[in-house]
Symmetry: C2
């Protein structure tokens, strides 16, 4: 089905085409690692001299290195290998999760240069995390290679913001958090904020189990449940950026009350609290997540009540996934966070439920997979988001080494 | 949130740019009607001489006319007005609905030149509709202006395909239907098939209540319920084109069995059969749709049982809409088909349910509206789909009057 009508014609000039080509070369080595000029020529459909000039410009800008291959495969002059300068250009990647704050410096090419985390005190507002996260970042930055330049930052925020009255308010804290981070890093390229599930979905799509699949539902379980939904290769952000709150699909109208004020939301049946409830356990002092992990471990060892609880959650998991298959028809569903373990323990239950509740047309061609990047998905995705501006316009994003190239650059210090 | 990474650079040549510009001019007058060259210059951001040349080429190709304005507004030479040749270029638009088959010839610019319909016998497979529909089309075509050329065809198929055992099978009939239509019109540009709700959504997005809104859920009620979902300006078709089967979201796991084999699907609570069930009525000989219309009329006149039935359906309608708001965060929800009347009669009930079950962030900025194009949305949308190839490449789509222009054209006779 073609896209709805658009009026504006697309008219790139020479500069725009060069910018796109520089971005394509840098993006390729960023995602796929060291690549020879000859291979880039084939992959990107550009001629040899163009690739040579683009790679040379990126190297002069300090974004890539060019070196002869360690092993020459053919006779004649070997094609130079273009590699991202992981140690020289990095992103600040942050995540605010239900029980901890995490920060990483991720080099161009996706290599995690350093990673730190601290506990998040229960009830700490997301905006208050800016200070502790900035400490972690500064501490890591002292250990980076001299002259390393920051391409940008991004923060993945788990979907746990609540009003004073306890009702879940999605999105409210983003502006405050942005301002707090800007206060910590006023001179730098600033931070992009996004929902943790959206950002983890981008990570799995760029470097994980969803690479190469254009219609993906990534489900992330924590205290709440949300999704990063990719259709036609693009993230569904929705009208105001609040898409993917699948934890608040009503699946059981006669069920228990949800923190959002509604009743029978999906997360009341598949979140970590549901797992504990079905297992007849209390959260204890270690917190919900730790207690839920305990139930999953007990189920692995065959403990009866724990197994029954996991099965019950897996059945509800299957029911909601069936609805999402029918509505969105993804080619792949990825289970992340606590749902990774629930799926691992109850995959057969999930599949049986899909056989009943998903339409054959939507069920027969879908793959269900555990997330590949584990807990780091949010940080890896945040780095991808942070590198976005650099990859869109490599030599003008305020990151390239201008003094070395003499290129005229626009001001990159936009918060 | 930016789109996930793509490697391939975009390198349009002169021919590609000209093609895009021709498409932009033709699309503009197709969607917005007669427009002066001066206005096109402003709207499309192209210079005056470029617009003049493009309009002249489209006129030579028989796709537009150029005439002086009927009233000159300023002194000096008036800017020519470019109009789509509605009578000269048309699309074959078909719809296969639960109780009838409809066909229209729709001129470039969206004018319905002629429209016919016949009853669809209960249980008639979609593929069997090709013959009767072809008769309607041929009959209409005899009345069109001499030399009128067909730009293509499209057929909107209501989501009612069932297996021999009665289970709903989405998508199975499309290939058979395509082959049957091709057998009826072997020499012509062929037909595109799509889900009726998807196609009606495109119509509302191009020419109806959703024009200018990029995140839309269009809900279509008939025997079943399905949706056309547009996010970021693009239709969500899903991995295999089966997206939007919202009628099979499970909203009431303890509810009645659905034709798909599951239990408590949304359409078991908001489809026309649910309306009859809640009103304690039988379908009668006139069919489900007619009996449901009777309940809605009785509710309008204040009949108690009918009112209670409409309220109950409206409450379930609100519950499912709440889930869709939370998952997709649209800016607009459009009610079409039988749901148009349910919403008109029970809007207050729907809104009360949203207040409870939709997240404030998703609820506060959404508009709920009745469909604007009524029953014709499917045909208008099918015409938009059918014109797609012409609008993408106006002078090479096998439609433009080649003999007049002398342009070299690719073979347009692709089925």
């Amino acid at each position: 089905m073609p896209a709805p009508a658009r009026s504006a014609p697309y008219l790139p000039g020479q500069e725009e085409i060069r910018r796109q080509n520089l971005g394509a070369v840098l993006r390729h080595v960023h995602l796929h690692g060291p690549t020879s000029r000859a291979e880039l020529t084939g992959r990107l459909g550009l001629n040899r001299s163009t690739i040579g000039a683009l790679a040379a410009d990126l190297a002069a800008g300090g974004l890539v290195t060019e070196e002869p291959p360690t092993v020459a495969l053919r006779a004649g002059r070997p094609s130079l290998v273009v590699s991202p300068r992981s140690g020289g250009v990095y992103a600040r990647a942050l995540s605010i999760e239900s029980d901890r704050l995490r920060a990483a410096c991720v080099g161009l090419g996706g290599r995690v240069l350093d990673l730190r985390e601290v506990a998040r005190p229960p009830g700490m507002p997301a905006a208050d995390a800016a200070g502790p996260l900035a400490c972690l970042v500064r501490d890591m930055e002292r250990g980076l290679a001299e002259g390393a330049r920051c391409a940008g930052g991004a923060v993945a925020v788990a979907d746990t913001t609540r009003d004073a009255d306890g009702r879940i308010r999605i999105g409210r804290a983003d502006a405050e958090l942005g301002a707090a981070l800007y206060a910590e890093f006023p001179a730098d390229p600033g931070f992009v904020a996004g929902d943790l599930a959206d950002i983890a979905a981008l990570a799995e799509h760029a470097r994980g189990v969803a690479a190469g699949t254009d219609d993906v539902v990534y489900l992330h379980g924590d205290l709440g449940v949300s999704a990063g939904i990719i259709t036609g290769g693009r993230l569904v952000s929705g009208h105001r950026g609040h898409g993917g709150k699948v934890g608040h699909m009503v699946v059981n109208p006669g069920g228990v009350r949800c923190g959002c004020g509604s009743r029978g939301c999906w997360e009341t049946e598949i979140g970590v609290a549901a797992l504990l409830r079905h297992a007849g356990r209390e959260p204890g002092t270690a917190g919900l997540a730790a207690a839920a992990a305990e139930v999953l471990r007990a189920a692995e060892h065959g403990e009866r009540t724990a197994c029954a609880a996991v099965h019950r959650v897996a059945d509800w998991l299957g029911l909601g996934v069936a609805s999402l298959l029918n509505v969105i028809n993804p080619g792949l569903v990825v289970f992340g966070g606590s749902l990774r373990q629930v799926y691992a323990a109850g995959a057969d239950v999930v599949h049986r439920r899909l056989d009943v509740s998903a339409l054959p047309a939507s069920r027969e061609r879908v793959l269900l997979r555990a997330a590949a990047l584990g807990r780091d998905a949010a940080l890896i995705g945040a780095a991808e988001l942070a590198f976005g501006r650099l990859l869109a316009d490599p030599l003008n994003a305020g990151v390239a080494a201008r003094e070395e190239t003499g290129l005229r650059a626009t001001d990159g210090g936009v918060p």
